[in-house]
Symmetry: C2
Subunit: 155 residues, 2 copies
């Protein structure tokens, strides 16, 4: 178990592309997503992952993540996902002490780009790169589980 | 992924105790349980297990099971279970070609004993031991997720 402490921002230009360390193709869907519980299945390149998250409290939530066979992830996304599948390219982008995750969405969420930073404590400080836009940590529309249900193209 | 094909019966006497191969203490709770999806966390002796099951179709359902750290299982049972915790002793009992699982429940389900057999195909035949009572495969009251919500003591 880990506590996930995360802040999420819009991205105001493409300059982050100059600091990309790596990128990976993510497909993910939700078997359950309520205020109290999220069960997410992800295909991350060739690796399956099953992630269980508890209720969000502020910008923190408990998170349990396990590697699973890619074929299980594929089968669960096909058979058990209660939402559409989110399709995005995740870029790891260095900025100062931290590595950001910049997600460029495809499919029904094409056009949306979000930057996330994982922190060790809620009050941890971090450098704000010039390409960073408004913070959306508290805006439920940008939760991936909600993007699966109400994609960006319908906003 | 596996298909789980299971039949469940009441037990009409204690003669199964003479064929016990092994027994283990199980504690389990449900993070989600709907007609379409069950997410179960189990502590099986010292081993944690996370199990995801799809909708029941007849006596079959898809099942995905992963070992997880016991401390994760304990934390999820404490923090994320939406039901009471089921507490039972599982006995593996040989009968002919098959090994039955005989569950003797404790806590709010004390007094209940159920026998389950896992089959390779829905029409697979099996020997019915003399201690076997009525079949309850189709009775939702005996689903463990329902026993967690409406325990035997309240029937």
């Amino acid at each position: 178990m880990a506590m996930e402490i995360e802040r999420k921002f819009l991205v105001c230009n493409d300059d982050w592309r100059e600091q990309v360390l790596s990128e990976t193709h993510l497909m993910q869907g939700y078997l359950a997503s309520t205020a109290a519980l999220t069960v997410r299945v992800r295909l991350d390149g060739g690796q399956g992952r099953l992630t269980i998250k508890g209720a969000t409290r502020g910008i923190s939530r408990s998170e349990y993540e396990y590697p699973i066979p890619a074929e299980d992830a594929q089968a669960m996304l096909g058979e058990l996902a209660e939402t559409a599948i989110i399709d995005k390219i995740r870029h790891r982008v260095r900025c100062g002490e931290h590595v950001w995750e910049v997600d460029r969405f495809a499919g029904d969420n094409a056009g949306l780009v979000l930057a996330e930073i994982e922190l060790g404590a809620e009050n941890e400080s971090f450098e704000r790169p010039a390409w960073l836009g408004a913070e959306v940590s508290d805006d439920p529309r940008y939760y991936n589980a909600n993007l699966a249900r109400h994609p960006f193209k319908d906003w």
